[in-house]
């Protein structure tokens, strides 16, 4: 058995050596995501920096699928390739990739102090600021204002209320002639998105975040068992069976077609729901996700940062680009034009941003208390933890196991993965 990944990386490294660009003119290569308007916004901002500083910019295309992009980054970085100077990284990646990035603290000059604390913590590895928060994402509850008003129901604050309201409106609408109506759609496919969803159900009942910050595996507890059992009860009643195969876009599709009362999704769904041709334009409200009897609303922290490779030939210039891209000017433009949630706290009070995205002003405290996935403590093993967690959650949702059976097994696996809760320390 050979190791194709490493060989690809080596071949790529050789290709770079043979065909590398001349080093005379400083060209900074950066990778941006390309979901929706991401690439366009990234390119314009980077070009503004290039024009300002007299350098050149090259935007490198990377796979859209997050796991494939991570695999590519891992191979490039492990082979010490200088093909990319600035990497756009997911909030859960610094623990895995951090050792390949430079410490940005000297370049940030304290700018990170004005950003979300938990995000900065996720981007910090062994005391080094390995990435600069760029924009954030959190789980939000989208609801149909018109339908709640029609049935005289308030926006649900607890999971119990959500299930009851979803059921009532769903049954009512079906009787009124829409047989495709469902109460509640979310992301149930076996992937990272399910980790985000299930973490919210558990944390909002006071069940913790899988692994405690001291490394103990805490996932098997009564609140977590209740959360998963509850969620399994939604499937087929208020959520379609197919939710077990829904990622963000599938669930948004059902909601946007007007066939769901409640949707759990990231902020990007807002600007699309309000788009000109949207069937639910003007009928959508955004609120914090519900919570359990003992606990408070929890929203998983997502988002992207920018990091500078240790193998870059122009680390100082690359860091300067990162500071420009994550600075208030660019972040404001991105928020106003494309609904990217800023990572800078102060921007949530900016009148132009709030006018373009009313929920950003209202839900600012929610963003501030967004729940970080256990990436800091699990470090390089986060992917493995998340994979085990979403597989367990998926088994319970699909009825292949019950929560009291599956969670002790998950806890045992995680203790094994962590080598006895040591997590490689």
């Amino acid at each position: 058995m050979d190791l194709p990944g490493r060989w690809i990386a080596r071949i790529a490294a050789v290709a770079v050596l043979l065909g590398g660009a001349p080093a005379a003119a400083a060209t900074i290569r950066l990778s941006c995501g390309a979901v929706g308007r991401e690439l366009e916004m990234c390119r314009t901002a980077a070009q503004a920096w290039a024009a300002k500083t007299g350098n050149a910019i090259e935007v490198v295309a990377t796979p859209n699928d997050a796991s494939e992009r991570l695999a590519l980054y891992e191979q490039m970085l492990a082979s010490r390739s200088d093909r990319i100077d600035v990497f756009q990284v997911d909030v859960v990646w610094p623990g895995m990739l951090g050792s390949h990035f430079i410490d940005l603290r000297p370049y940030a000059k304290g700018a990170e102090a004005g950003m979300f604390r938990d995000f900065v913590a996720s981007d910090t590895k062994d005391g080094r600021l390995v990435a600069m928060p760029w924009f954030i994402n959190t789980g939000l509850l989208f609801y149909r204002k018109d339908l709640l008003a029609k049935y005289g129901a308030p926006v649900p604050a607890t999971w119990e209320a959500l299930a009851a309201t979803a059921r009532r409106v769903q049954d009512g609408e079906r009787a009124a002639g829409n047989p495709r109506m469902w109460g509640w759609v979310w992301q149930g496919r076996a992937y990272e998105g399910l980790t985000c969803n299930a973490l919210e159900w558990i944390a909002s009942r006071g069940g913790g975040a899988i692994v405690a910050s001291d490394g103990r595996v805490t996932v098997d507890n009564p609140a977590a068992r209740a959360a998963l059992a509850d969620a399994a009860g939604w499937v087929g009643r208020i959520s379609p069976e197919a939710v077990l195969n829904y990622a963000e876009e599938e669930s948004r599709g059902v909601f946007q077609a007007g066939n769901a009362v409640f949707l759990r999704n990231w902020p990007y769904a807002w600007s699309l729901a309000q788009a000109d041709r949207s069937a639910i334009r003007g009928k959508v409200g955004v609120a914090a996700l519900p919570h359990g009897p003992a606990g408070q609303s929890a929203a998983t922290l997502g988002g992207e940062s920018l990091a500078v490779s240790r193998y870059s030939r122009h680390p100082a210039l690359a860091a300067d680009l990162v500071m420009f891209m994550t600075g208030p000017e660019v972040q404001k433009r991105r928020a106003v034009e494309a609904s990217f949630n800023p990572s800078l706290l102060a921007l949530y009070k900016d009148p132009e941003i709030v006018a373009a995205n009313p929920f950003m002003g209202e839900l600012a405290p929610l963003f501030e208390h967004a729940l970080a996935r256990p990436t800091v403590v699990t470090g390089a093993r986060y992917n493995q933890v998340s994979n085990e967690f979403w597989n367990t959650a998926h088994d319970v949702l699909a009825g292949r196991a019950t929560a009291p059976e599956a969670l002790p097994e998950l806890a045992a696996t995680l203790r094994r993965v962590s080598r006895g809760e040591r997590w490689g320390r």
Binding site: M1, L70, N245, T413, G424
Partner: protein, 302 residues
């Protein structure tokens, strides 16, 4: 010619043979030996892709002990999935391949054309056919669901490749579709070595066709079928591309190769993943050695 001269000549020939073999030996060592030795070495360390320089030698800890591969339930689940996949797909491929080969063996003008047609699935690269099938089986836009719903055989779209109970079946079905031609061709080659006289004299004696197949043809081609089955089994134990392309990262289709890739790339556990790769290699290598023994051993019919 004296004995000494003959000895010198033989030695010279031997040296010549070594010189001629050397480039191949070097090439094999470079493309197979070196990566294999590296993998073996990595499997004895706790190396992680994030920081390969920090790797420490850990002996056999990746294989045995509390955190070793042999005590890892998810590895054994992967072994189980692999064995199930190999057993079911190879059985189906052999039975169907035999049937197709028997049909193709009947003299007909169409035979050459048919033989070429049958080979089409085998000729398509696996990644391409896997992608093709995953679109056909797609729950929203797939033609399979469309047809089933039109015929009222399914009430709603079926998530063929995402449903854990269906996904392994789908992978087996596509593998059977792809590999049956290969089996058919191997078995057809064997069928054509069966002497016509044997079959004809049995027919003259009034033996029924089914009995001819069971008692004359099958015993004669059994060794060839056995070789084909073992070849396919060794191949099926390494199955990767079909599953990687067709199904999401669920447990129900995680075979040994998928497990290795997941550990090495997704989880960055270079050491542990290398241990799994080594075990997989040993399984295949031992299987191959057993196959060669069976073919050239004293009990061989050849």
């Amino acid at each position: 010619m004296t004995a000494a001269a003959r000895g010198g000549w033989a030695a010279q020939r031997r040296r010549q043979a070594w010189r001629l073999l050397a480039p191949l030996g070097v090439l094999l060592a470079a493309v197979a030996g070196w990566p294999l030795a590296r993998t073996l070495w990595f499997s004895l360390t706790d190396m992680q892709l994030a920081d390969p320089a920090a790797a420490r030698f850990v002996g056999l800890a990746n294989y045995v002990g509390p955190y070793g591969l042999l005590g890892d339930p998810s590895w054994w689940r992967a072994v189980g999935v692999t064995l199930a996949f190999a057993a079911v797909s190879v059985t189906l491929e052999t039975v169907l391949g035999l049937a197709v080969a028997l049909l193709l063996d009947t003299p007909s003008r169409l035979r050459t054309v048919l033989r070429a047609c049958v080979l089409v699935p085998w000729a398509i690269p696996t990644v391409v056919s896997a992608r093709m099938w995953s679109w056909m089986l797609h729950d929203q836009f797939g033609v399979v669901n469309h047809v089933l719903q039109r015929l009222h055989l399914a009430s709603g779209p079926i998530a063929w490749t995402a449903d854990p109970t269906l996904s392994l079946l789908c992978v087996v079905a596509v593998d059977v579709w792809k590999t049956t031609p290969f089996m058919a061709l191997l078995i057809l080659a064997a069928l054509q070595t069966v002497p016509r006289e044997c079959v004809e004299s049995a027919r003259v004696d009034g033996v029924r066709p089914w009995a001819i197949l069971r008692h004359v043809t099958l015993p004669l081609i059994a060794p060839a079928i056995l070789v084909a089955v073992v070849l396919r089994l060794l191949d099926a134990l390494r199955v990767f591309d079909l599953i990687y392309v067709m199904t999401s990262n669920g447990r129900s289709t995680r075979t040994m190769s998928v497990f290795v890739r997941e550990q090495l790339i997704d989880f960055q556990q270079t050491g542990y993943g290398s241990a799994a790769a080594t075990v997989l290699f040993l399984v295949i290598a031992l299987g191959t050695v057993a196959l060669l023994r069976a073919l050239h051993g004293p009990g061989s019919r050849r």
